[in-house]
Every structure is written in C-alpha cells, then in structure tokens.
C-alpha cells in the first residue's frame, strides 16, 4: 500500500493527516454518532429532556404509511430518472462515437448541463412546465389535450422532477459511456467488420457487452444521484408535493428534522439512509472492480 522508499519521521505524517482527520471528526463522525444516538431517543418539544426508547423511533417509522409511501416514491423516482438519463446518455454516446470530425464540438455542447446546479435546473423546468403559462405545459394542453398540473396531479408532479433530474444527469452518463466506448480496442471492432458485422450488429454484440463495467458503475452513481443530489430540484419545484407524491427519503429527513422538529424520527431515517449508502459503497467496491473486462 505504501512505497518501498519511505521517509523516516515520527511526527510529520500525523501532522500531515491532522487537517483531514479533524474535519472528519468534527463534521462527519461526530454528527453520524449523534444521529445514531438520537435515533434511540425521543426529545420533548422544547428539546430539554430526552428519553432512551430503544427501537421505538424505528418501529414507529416502519408502521407509518407516510414512510412507506416515501420509500415507494424514492424507488419510482430513481428508476425513472436513472432509466431516462442512462438510456439518453447511452444513445448520445453511441452517435457521438461514430463521428470522426467535430467530436469536440458535439461534446462541448452536450456536457454543459453538468455545470447547472440541481436547484437551478429545477427553476428552468418549473418555468417550462408550470400550468399557468409554461411553454411545454401550454403545448401539451393545446396539442395533446392533456390537462397538465404538477401542483395537483401526483403523476404530473413526479414527471416534472424526473424530467429536471434526468436532464441534468444525461451529460454525466454521456461522458462516461463515450469514454468507455473510446477505450474499446479498435482491432476488435475492425476484426468484426472484416467478418461482415455491420455497425448495428457490432453495437449489440461487441460494444454494449464490453461497456458493462461502465454501465454497472453508472447504475450505482445514478442511484446515488437520484437519492441524494436531487434535493435541490425537489425543493425548488414541488416541495415534495402534491400530497407527498415527490417526497423522496432525503427530502423527508429534512422536512421532519427542520420543519417538523421531530429529531428522533429524522435521526432514525438518517441511520437507515446511512445503511443504504454503506451497502451501495460495498457493492461498488466489491463488484465494480471485478467486472472490468478490458484494458485500454
């Protein structure tokens, strides 16, 4: 893990590590421990006294319909956002990979949404899709006869946050798919071409199978994105509404903790989410590393 040539110094390495470890201690491990402790406590409304209640916060959570709804909303939201962003990112990359001249031009114009803050992306899409004068809402109403209203209709609210979230994530997936495709050795593609495989055939029999490590990695990253980074989009567009239709788990932790001031429940939710992240990290390091088929 370390070099064979090393410096001998007793104190220096600790000194070098100190800044990072201090930040980790104060802002990571201490709060995580506090969340763990608070998830077993119930505080009164003024926060003066708290009682140890074992797993009561967790059982209360798992008995509440609202929490199960939030879990369902999170899964639907992640699958739709990830599915849309991954398939469009892949499609863009397949075509961009075919271009010989002008790749840089297309690439530049396709990657910039990555730079737009989720909350700002939310503002843009709310403008396009708000029911009173949004351009897309107007067109849907006029051309397709759809009475679009994300403030009242649950499915419309979900569609709004999915579109905004997927739009922002396409460029990320595009960059990784394209990098993956360009690292596939030309000789393999050429060999297939000599054997008579046309571009579409090559795509399905060579390119896509060889992209599976990239795809798997992106599946993990897109889940993380949908679970955690979309908070800004939800907070600017729907506030978790209508009627909790877009209240994903992270949004609920925030609402229960800061608006509802129900610290016990909010901490219990945090602990469950931490468990989820630990599992994802494990999956990523355990399997992503193993699934690499090729070297550039």
């Amino acid at each position: 893990m370390s070099k064979s040539v090393i410096f001998g110094n007793r104190w220096l390495p600790y000194l070098l590590l100190l800044p990072q470890l201090l930040v980790l201690l104060v802002f990571f491990f201490w709060p995580a421990a506090q969340a763990l402790i608070q998830s077993f406590m119930i505080s009164d409304a003024f926060g003066n006294t708290s009682t140890f209640v074992w797993f009561q916060n967790f059982t209360r959570l798992f008995k509440s319909q609202e929490y199960w709804d939030s879990i369902r909303v999170t899964i639907v939201f992640s699958v739709l956002t990830g599915g849309l962003a991954l398939s469009l990112g892949l499609l863009f990359a397949i075509f961009a990979d075919r271009v010989i001249r002008g790749t840089a031009f297309y690439k530049t114009l396709l990657i910039w949404p990555y730079a737009v803050a989720p909350a700002t992306a939310g503002a843009l899409w709310l403008f396009l899709l708000n029911p009173t004068m949004g351009v897309l809402a107007y067109l849907m109403n006029k051309q397709l006869g759809i009475h679009w209203d994300p403030t009242l209709n649950r499915a419309d609210g979900m569609a709004l946050v999915v579109l905004a979230s997927a739009w922002k994530q396409i460029s990320y997936n595009f960059v990784f798919f394209l990098a993956g495709m360009q690292s596939i050795p030309r000789s393999i593609i050429e060999a297939a071409a000599i054997d008579g495989a046309r571009p579409v055939k090559r795509l399905f029999t060579i390119v896509l199978p060889l992209l599976s490590p990239t795809t798997f990695f992106l599946l993990v990253m897109n889940s993380v994105y949908a679970f955690f980074d979309t908070f800004g989009i939800i907070d600017t567009t729907t506030d978790g509404g209508p009627g909790g239709a877009t209240s994903i788990l992270v949004y609920k932790v925030y609402r229960d903790g800061f608006v509802g001031l129900d610290l016990g429940s909010s901490s219990a939710q945090s602990v469950i989410l931490m468990g989820f992240v630990i599992a994802l990290t494990f999956v990523q390091f355990r399997y992503v590393e193993r699934m690499v088929h090729y070297k550039s």
Partner: protein, 297 residues
C-alpha cells in the same frame, strides 16, 4: 471509420444536432423569457423569439436579491471548497504513501469511511455541530475530567464562510486519486531526494507538487463545480440574506402563487446563476473531463 456508410453518417449528424437542441431547449427558452417584458412572458403561448428587454431584466434581477453579493459568496464558497479539498487531501495522500507509521491503515480506513456519510444523511446533527464546532472537544475534555471542568467556549460557524466551506472539504475521492498518482511516481525520485538529504517537505514542495499539477487542475475544476452547485448545506447554515449563495438566492426569487409571476426577471436571475459554472466547464473542458473520469475511479 471502418466502412463507408454515408447515409448512417448523415443520420448521425442530424441526430446529434437534435440531441443538442433537446439539451439546449430549457436554457434557450429561459433566455427568451429573460428578454421579454412581463406581459409577454405571461401570455400563453409565450413568444419563441427573443425580445429586447434582456438588460432591463438582468438589472431587475441583480437589484432584487443583491445578486452581486451572492455571486461573490458563491465564488468564495466554491473556490474555498476546491482549494481546501485539494490541500487537505494531497497532504493526507503524501502521509499515507510516503511514510510508514502506526495507525496508518486506521487513518486510511477513516478517510474511506467518509465516503459512506454524505451530508444529506446527517443533516440535523451536522447543523448542530456547526453551531458550535468545538462540541466534540468539549465533550471529550469533560468526559476525561469526569465533568469537573465546565467549558463555555463556543465557535459558531453559522452564517460564516468557514461554516459554508469546512464541513464540505473532507474528500476521500481526492485522497485516493492523489495516492494512486503518487504510486505511479518512480521510487528513484524519492531515493535521489533522500540521498541529496532533502527533507520530506522539501521533496513534497520541489518534486511531488510540480508533478501533480495536471491532477490538481483537473480536481480543482470538478470541486469548484461541486462547491458552486451545493444547495442543501448553504440553505441550512445561512440564515442571513447577505450570506446566501446565488443558487439559494435564485430559489428565493421563485414566484409565489399570489403575485403576478415575473418569470422574465427570475429567468434572468437563472442565467446569471448558471453562467459562471457553465463557463468554467466549457473553457476548461479538458481538465473537467480528466477530473470527472479520474475522480470516479
């Protein structure tokens, strides 16, 4: 290209132009809205071609939420996070790679564990500790002394730049990246430095740091964007308007239900908020792509 496929090539270009149009659409319409007077933007359908009110709307947005101040705050926060992350992770990576000391693996594991604790899952307690960053130390001292010493020290980070920056600068990914890069540097360099009796820090500043320039540049771009786009954390720790970042400021501009929605001004504000990070990515594209791909390895 492997075989000649003129029709497919044409389809490819047409399709890519369509993709770009699709991706550009929201920003194009925001731009159009930002150039229209309020009556035009609220008519259905809104005109699809730009008007002549761009500078009026930009000025209105600028004045309404003190955007100059908020742009400055965003700039400080994003640069602070980029700088802080790079400094603390390159130092940690140097310690872990070039020294052998007790608890080295523990330190590595602790840094790794931070990957599993994104700010979103520890919102409330992180906010509490930010209100007094000395809490863990006070608890430690009080426990060690059996509660005999009652400490009243406070270090409140709410509504400060430190509060916006410090909790976000620990970085396992950047530490791994630097460590991986250091492992590829030939041992002979360190050997030679030792023979020339250079101190470890001298080796760090004169050899390691110059060699790491490309990695630092790539990471800086990614981390700057990461910092600029933060939403949840500034929302929690800044309650004063003059400490808000522009991403938060834009959210505060969003029209409420009961007033006439001034979408033209809001979209002008959105353009101001998204221009700096987009410019960074477009201008520094090479570094951005390298940073994005490297930092996820």
């Amino acid at each position: 290209m492997i075989e000649r496929t003129p029709i497919l090539d044409l389809v490819t270009h047409v399709f890519l132009v369509l993709c770009i149009a699709l991706v550009l659409l929201p920003v194009y319409l925001a731009f159009v809205a930002a150039t229209l007077p309020v009556a035009a933007v609220n008519s259905a359908p809104m005109p699809y071609l730009p008007g002549d009110q761009l500078f009026t709307n930009l000025a209105a947005a600028w004045a309404r939420e003190d955007l100059g101040r908020q742009l400055f705050n965003s700039m400080v926060m994003a640069s602070g996070i980029a700088f802080g992350k790079i400094v603390i992770s390159i130092l940690s990576a140097f310690a872990i790679t070039y020294f052998n000391f007790p608890f080295r693996k523990t330190a590595f594991a602790l840094i790794f564990a931070s990957l599993m604790l994104p700010v979103e899952v520890r919102i409330v307690p992180t906010y509490e500790v930010t209100a007094n960053a000395l809490t863990p130390f006070i608890w430690l001292i009080e426990t060690l002394t059996g509660g005999m010493i009652d400490i009243k020290l406070r270090w409140n980070l709410l509504n400060t730049y430190e509060g916006l920056i410090l909790p976000l600068i620990a970085s396992a990914t950047a530490t791994f990246l630097f460590r991986q890069f250091f492992m590829t540097i030939p041992d002979e360099l360190a050997e030679a430095a030792k023979i020339d009796s250079a101190t470890p820090m001298r080796f760090f500043f004169d050899i390691l740091l110059p060699l790491s320039r490309t990695n630092i540049a790539a990471l800086a771009v990614i981390m700057f964007i990461f910092g600029w786009n933060q939403y949840l954390w500034p929302l929690l720790v800044t309650t004063q308007e003059d400490m808000n970042t522009i991403v938060i400021g834009l959210n505060r501009m969003m029209p409420s239900m009961d007033a006439i929605p001034e979408w033209n001004v809001v979209m002008a504000g959105a353009l101001i908020a998204l221009t700096p990070p987009v410019l960074v990515i477009v201008v520094l594209q090479r570094w951005f792509l390298k940073g994005l791909v490297d930092s996820e390895k």
